[in-house]
Amino acid sequence: MAEIGNHKILIIDDDVDLVEANKIVLEANSYTVFTAHSGQEGMAKFKKVIPDLVILDVSMERRDEGFYVSQKIRSCPEIGQIPIIMITAIHQSTKFRFSPDTDENYLPVTEMVDKPVNPSTLVQLVDKWLKK
């Protein structure tokens, strides 16, 4: 467990309560968690912290903000190629279906999961990409 504690996770979501809940769950699983509540703040933290994984929301200040954040992360040399798990309610609020497999160009994320995510599912997802 101890070596896992080195993994840094950045959660970018404008819902402070959700962020707090997820932070508690991940910290309980020995991850170091950083949080941001907007795309702008998220990018700043990303560059500063250089996380091992990003959990990203889509609708923030702008409804498609998460998409831009993911592209910005990927455009960072070297540090940009980390796993990005997109947790979103966008499938419920729009008629669009997004998938990282088919929409790779503008949606360069590793996983896409619908909100809300059970604590256990969240941990499993993160473990899957960080415990290799």
Partner: protein
Amino acid sequence: MAEKIKNAKRGFGYQTIQKFKRCLAAKMIFWISAVTMLTLTGYLYIHLQDTQEHFNMLIKDEAYLASDIIKRSIRQEMLLDARVDLQQTVNDITGNDEIIKIRLIEEGIIKIASDKHEIGQVIDKKAEACNDCHKPNQQPKFTNDRNYRIFNDADGKLVVGMVTPIYNEKECYHCHGEDNKILGVLDVIISLERVQAYIHTDKNRAVLFLIFTFILLSTTVGLLIRYFIAHPIRKLIEGTTMITAGNLDHQIPIEPKDEIGDLARSFNVMSLRLKTSRQEIENWNKELEGRVKLATAQSASANKELEIANEKLKESDKKKSEIVMVVAHDIRAPLAAIKSCLQVVLQGYLKNDPLKEKEMLQRVEARIEDQLTFVKNLLDFSRIAESCGEMLPTDLHKIIRKVSDLMSDLAKTKKMSIKVLEKEKHLPILADEDLLVRALTNLVNNAIKYNPEGSKIWIDSQSSNGNINIAIKDNGIGIPQDEVPNIFEVMFRGRNAKRQKEHGAGLGLSIVKQVVEIHQGKIRVESKEKEGTSFFISLPRAKN
């Protein structure tokens, strides 16, 4: 066409006749003249025949008389058989123009003649002139004392020849004996020149009379027909032509009280009626046209309205489904947060940290509170959208004070002040008080919720141009310029608002706008980031 060519080939005369045949006056003149002339001619012919007959009678009498006189004149000479004297007397008698020839004939031999060359000539008894008495193989017998004949003599003159018998008498017996009843004949030839001339004159007169009658009759008949028939008929024809051409105002100017006059008058009546009918039809047509135009225009405008309504409906439908999406998201997102927070607590992630556990539950409670507000606003929004408000006269100051009272506690929690400026004593309006209070409260609530602690809020009101203007201003964070046009849209939430920890649903300003519109008012916003926001509401001022 073929008819025309045929007529042309027949020449001018034929055409004239055809024209003549079509002219009533000409036909009348022709037939009346023809009948009259025939009658007259017949009459004159008979008259002339009678005259001739009459003259013949007279001539016969005259010839007989002349023969008798001659016989008596030469009686003595005959009794004396004084032939030289007899010849002399005969010569004397024929010395005029009337009595042309005298002959004494005995047994077919001319014994004495006014023309000496004829003496001694034998007359053939078979000659036509002798046939009356000298029938073949019969004894001569005088059938008539006045046996005469009319013929042309050697000179070509018309003459009458009268043959009278010379009867045997006692005085004659001494020479002729008693046996012969008739001793010879006296043939007197009298000129008919005078009579002929008279008859000729008579004939000429008759012809002249006929010609004169013809001219007079045709002229009179022609003029009469022309005046009484042809002229009025031409007018009638003109009239019908005019009416055929559509000129129903035409009236035929005919006054006489005869059949044609009656016809013209009834014709005039007819054209008047036609005119009236046409007028009626035209009016009806115009009315119909107008109605059709109106109906077309109405249907066009109705179509247009329908199109617009349809467009609006589509738009509102689209908007509605968008709103439903957004509402779903805005319900689901907090629920997701609530669920996650509860799971953290329930799954015992914080069992060692009761303080943190309590904080999580408080978060859950706050979010549920927000949701309740949201659902309440949603209900309000849809209720207001459907209601038309019960408008009652009230004073705006009263409403503003109510808003200020309601919001003052909340303002204090953020160390804010609400300043109400009353520039006029009364601001009468017609309003649904509850709705208007809620709208203004929403605005003030926004100002408190999204602005930093210590900000100021002003509520001004004053009337101008029959309107009451309300201004709700703050000196807070402001709204980004690109978002200003959208802030009244349903479910719109500004970036600056989202950045706050306060939760909202984007319904507040939509409700405000709806309420203002229900009050026949207008709302607009002026805002500058980091300087503040001002909402201006204009409502119609009610009469005092």
